[in-house]
């Protein structure tokens, strides 16, 4: 163990520079979030992940955000175990009928102000499961969505970009607003 620890001290870090949030996501957020809400949203965000019928592919890539290459926590973003500690629900899957109530109750248990991010093609609109008797067809069919991150599954860097849009400093957002208004 000592060897591994020493080596980690002298080896260059694996962690990569952050990706810039994408214009598309910033625009979506600017539209979704009120000014007051954005001011209250600090630099530090607690995220509660909810699998609402995903194939688990999105979870694998969300997990990857915690590895040394992406190191999500350096941005003040961290995953929490309870919705009561969360600012953001990160939801995956087409929302199965069997998970709908659990998702709604998780949302109700999250204190205000709160945001909802739908990650993955299934969460966006049901993806390839849309039309099934067993799914609602996307998170927006059940709850108000603030941000969507498409992909099957989205790559970790795409998820990171989307989440960074949530904590981008206000000036950048003002610029975005100016550009889009």
């Amino acid at each position: 163990m000592r060897k591994l620890l020493f080596e980690s001290l002298i080896r260059l870090p694996l962690t990569e520079p952050p990706p810039a949030p994408e214009q598309r996501e910033l625009d979506a957020l600017a539209a979704a979030l009120g000014e007051r809400a954005r001011r209250r949203l600090g630099r530090s965000l607690a995220i509660r992940e909810v699998d609402a019928g995903s194939c688990n592919g999105c979870e694998l890539e969300i997990h990857a955000l915690n590895n040394a290459f992406y190191d999500l926590e350096r941005y003040g973003l961290r995953f929490v175990a309870s919705p009561r500690h969360a600012d953001v629900l990160l939801v995956t899957g087409p929302v199965t009928k069997n998970m709908r109530e659990a998702l709604e109750r998780t949302w109700q248990a999250t204190p205000d102000p709160k945001w909802l991010v739908a990650a993955g093609d299934c969460a966006v609109d049901g993806g390839c499961f849309a039309g099934s008797y067993a799914v609602e067809g996307g998170v927006a069919a059940v709850l108000p969505v603030d941000l969507t991150i498409p992909g099957c599954p989205p790559r970790p860097v795409e998820i990171l970009r989307g989440l960074l849009a949530l904590v981008a400093p206000l000036p950048a957002r003002e610029a975005t607003r100016g550009a889009t208004s």
Partner: protein, 506 residues
Amino acid sequence: MPALIDLLLEGRRVAAHGGWPRVRVEPAIWRFAAEQLGTGHWTLLGLWGEAGERLAVHLALLDETQPGAAVVSLDCPDGRFPSVGQYHAPALRLERALHELTGLEPEGLPDRRPWLDHGRWDRRFPLGAPGPAREEAPYAFLQAEGEQLHQIAVGPVHAGIIEPGQFRFTAAGETVVRLEERLGYVHRGVESLMAGTDLARAAQLAGRVSGDSTVACALAFAQAAEAALGLEVPPRARRLRVLMAELERLANHLGDIGAVCNDAAFALLHSHCGVLRERVLRAADGAFGHRLLRDRIVPGGVAADLGADGRAALAALVAEVRRRFPRLVTLFDETPSLRDRTVGTGIVAPALARRFGAGGFVGRASGRGFDARRLPGQTLYEGLAFEVPVLETGDVDARVWIRIREVEQSLALIEQILAALPDGPLAARIEPAGEAREGVSLVEGFRGDLLAWLRLDAEGRVVRCHLRDPSWFQWPLLEAAIEGNIVADFPLCNKSFNCSYAGHDL
């Protein structure tokens, strides 16, 4: 003890069925097969029904003494069939699900509680003659009686980035007396969505059944379709399929080894294994254009070729894992506080693993060495050398060691393929057969053997497809493994099983 081959002589062989034989039998023979399963002859590979134009139930069986597999079918024009679960417990959940999806009635089934249908769908029997929706009712968990027992309800939303499902623990102080699972929360209706679609759409769905096994699921589906149509997959495509399957095994095992250590509060190994897993996904992305290799295996062959850059990336990956992994294994082996948590925890008795036909690291850690890659008639790994590690202790530790050994085997397989990759086309042309065809296949995913069965119509559309995830026969063993362990060791046991919710719930 009768051989499976003798049973087949009792039935009428179905002509247009590829892969292994399928025979139609009389109810007495069906019942006999179920009884034989119950006495430990043969292994249950799958049990599913169809209630479209014809009403029938199908039982996939494996003979491990004279290796071979077959499908036994019973026509049930009145919609009833003798329950297999009444003789053989591993069939219970399969039969509950079969009933809810098709409406077919397993006569004598001892457990009538709903399994996948939680009373929230807009209809009943989605694969059969749909009826009005089932009424929602509280789930009757099995009771445990005794002094000072308390219950702990967990889920369906868990305290981590994991899939949903419900666990009900009954504990005496710290000790678990009973665990019961309730699944079905991620049921998406995959088999209904597949019915009536073309092969391309059904293959896309198969690849989205279980995200961590997207290669294995797509491969099982593709091989079943190829068996049905009598297609010969070109040599280069066959080797690339093995390459993808072993990359998937490598990535998942590395992730699991780290995650088990993390659940024993040893974060260092988790971090290092996480780095290696990420390197596998990046190499897969560089080689085939997708980190999880989704949609890269299609009926007929593969959808992505391996170029010189990809080859170099994979060679560099193998070298990197070979350099780093042995030191992590040493660290695992030589950290007493970690081994203290894994050794003797969550034991699955070999007899139980055999009875349930548990595959993958769950079976192999408990003395069951079955590996679908070695099943006679499975030619995908022909010409490639690999060993199947088997241990007897059946604890969390053994399930980690099986993964460690399989990482080494997967590395060796990847090297063998890179050293001699044949040239040639990537896929065979698919032509509709002009008649109804059926096919079956069994694929060794990282968790264990995955069954796919399908029937195609004359135009090549999917009439019925059934996919059976290895977790069906592993989830019940988790309930047995945790008994007598402390509640705090459940995450450790659970992670060492790493059963799929999505693959099971379909």
